[in-house]
């Protein structure tokens, strides 16, 4: 049984009379521990696919199973529980709360968990250590570099103990050197057992992944997963 199973997933956006088909019947299985890069031109449906996998959006039709659980019609509370503990996001523009310190940003997903303050502190400190930015704990996101911000976002994904990390163009706002460092970090996390799904335009970045999927007009046009796996 694959960890992520998508079957004939379609997503439509309606704006008055105009219907946009963002996803046109995606069928895809991703196993635990995979490192998948999703590539495609702008508007091909990559982010929509990532949002559906991450329970941030719901498909118009089709079936989505996460660890065998059919999430079609699942309640908001269930989807948010998965988001907060099993799946974590890393966004292109970091998605950090500027008024929170680095420590507090990493702590955000843990606030919803039932754990003591000391446990939370331990998890956050370990996550910051893992990405090498523990000295920045008290700083505000506005006072650190782009690469450091992305590390904070990754630390947040690690801290909540998610099995799957969804990264939407995580190097898009970074210079190439920092971008490579961040991708290296993802590789290490994958080596530690995390499932990584990464969206990128950059073929060089995608080459770090073990499987590359290409999307065009909401359809998978290429999936070299079987070759590289």
């Amino acid at each position: 049984m694959a960890m992520i199973e998508l079957k004939e997933i379609k997503k439509e956006y309606r704006n008055d009379e105009v219907v946009t088909h963002a996803l046109n019947g995606i069928t895809l299985n991703i196993d635990q521990g995979e490192f998948v890069a999703v590539m495609g031109a702008s508007g091909s449906g990559k982010t929509t696919l990532l949002n559906i996998i991450g329970c941030m959006d719901v498909p118009t039709s089709g079936e989505y199973r996460f660890c065998g659980e059919n999430l079609g019609g699942a309640k908001e509370a269930r989807l948010s529980a998965i988001r907060g503990s099993r799946i974590a996001f890393v966004f292109q523009h970091f998605a950090l709360i500027n008024s929170y310190t680095v420590f507090e940003n990493v702590e955000v997903p843990l606030v919803r968990h039932t754990m003591s303050k000391s446990e939370r502190r331990k998890n956050v400190t370990a996550a910051l250590d893992a990405v090498g930015i523990s000295e920045l704990a008290k700083k505000l996101p506005t006072h650190i570099s782009g690469g450091q911000k992305q590390r904070v976002a990754i630390a947040r994904a690690i801290a909540c103990g998610a099995d799957v990390i969804l990264a939407d163009e995580p190097t898009g706002a970074l210079d190439s050197k920092t971008g490579r460092e961040i991708i290296q970090l993802f590789s290490e996390l994958n080596g530690a057992g995390k499932t990584i799904i990464l969206i990128t335009h950059d073929r060089q970045i995608a080459s770090f992944a073990k499987r590359i999927i290409t999307i065009q007009d909401g359809r998978i046009t290429e999936d070299d997963g079987s070759v590289k796996r």
Binding site: G40, A41, S42, G43, S44, G45, K46, T47, T48, N51, G54, M56, D57, V58, E76, A77, S80, A81, R83, G84, S85, A88, F89, F91, Q92, H93, F94, A95, L96, I97, S99, Y100, E104, V108, P109, V111, R112, H113, R156, C160, D168, E169, G172, I199
Partner: protein, 422 residues
Amino acid sequence: MGAIWKLTLKELKKKKANTLLTFIVCLVAMNTIFSAVTNATSAVYQKKQFEENIGVNLGRVLHLHYRENEETEEFAIVLSDFKDYLRRIEGVTAVGQFDSTTRYFSGIENMEKYKEVNPPQYEGYPLDLSWVVTVDEELLSLVRGGLTEYAKTQSGYPPIYPSEIFKESIPIGTVLTDKYNDEVKYEVAGYISKKSKWVDKNDLIRFPFISLNGAFVAPYTEWSRTDIMTQLVCMHNTYIYVSESADLEKIKQEIHNYTVEHGFDAYAETLEEEFALYAGETRYLTTAQTALAIFISVLSAISVVALFTTNALLKRTQYGILIANGFTIHDIAAEIALEIGFITFSSAAIMWIFKLIELRTSKNLGIKLFRDILLTAHVRFTLPLCIAIVLILSALSTILPALKVIRYQPCELIGDETNGND
């Protein structure tokens, strides 16, 4: 809920300037609303209180107005007879007068204990001066504090009731002699409590209650029937109780006719009519003030709601980040509600307490005269209304931003942080 509360407190703490600004806007709004409510309800409550104290419908109590002024000993008798005549009119159930004077009682100048406790309202006056409230038994209901009828004394002198602060210096049974008013004698028959109050005779339309602490209460004496100053002053403080079935207009006419026949001019109006006249005279001002208060209150409420809605919309991306990290859209709505509720409730509570302290301690004459009424209105009417206003304000301020946030998919809230809409 603990997580949401934690998040709310963090938000309030993190956005200090924003929280403070919102808090100040709420304080100003609450101040306006509470002042308008307390003033409006206290006016109504004051009228009801006076009605309760006088014991009958204000439409069945006539108040005498006197227009001639003849200062002769003989005329005092004419006025005393007039009072007796009033009691005999068909349909009149009681007639009462009251007055407030200062007297010198023999022997008090030597009572050190008396002078020690004689309250500071006599500042600048000799400490042996006594404040005497003269009230007919029919109007004792206007004296709040337990005195309902006059006792018969052993000596046969009229009874007098000193304030209980004089208990140690003037024991029951003491005979007090008025040094300058024909040496009228009274016998101390009891005490009035420190908390006793009565209506301020200088404000006969609104009747504020003032403290009787340090006063004496006594009935009119035979001597007062012949004292022209007492009779003239008390003409304006004459109240005529009329039965429900009596013809008011006829009684009014009879009163007027009697006075004209006896060489003076007096007429009577019901207290209801006097209130109506007063309300009519002040209607424009009162209406304008109330309209202004409502206008400002509505504007304040709108600005509070608008401020909270704008704040929530500005935090749209932040809400998206929270949702991406395990919070539900309903958690966000709850967080908005808690944040708004916290600010509105705390500002309302602080302003309510501030107004309470202000009403209790203000030296402003308007507040001093009506302190009890304003305090009662503030506690009994403004408090529940304040809770209702805060609930409504919080609900409105929550529903609008929450609806705006809930209508988005989580991925739409965080839109700006992604790489676009592909």
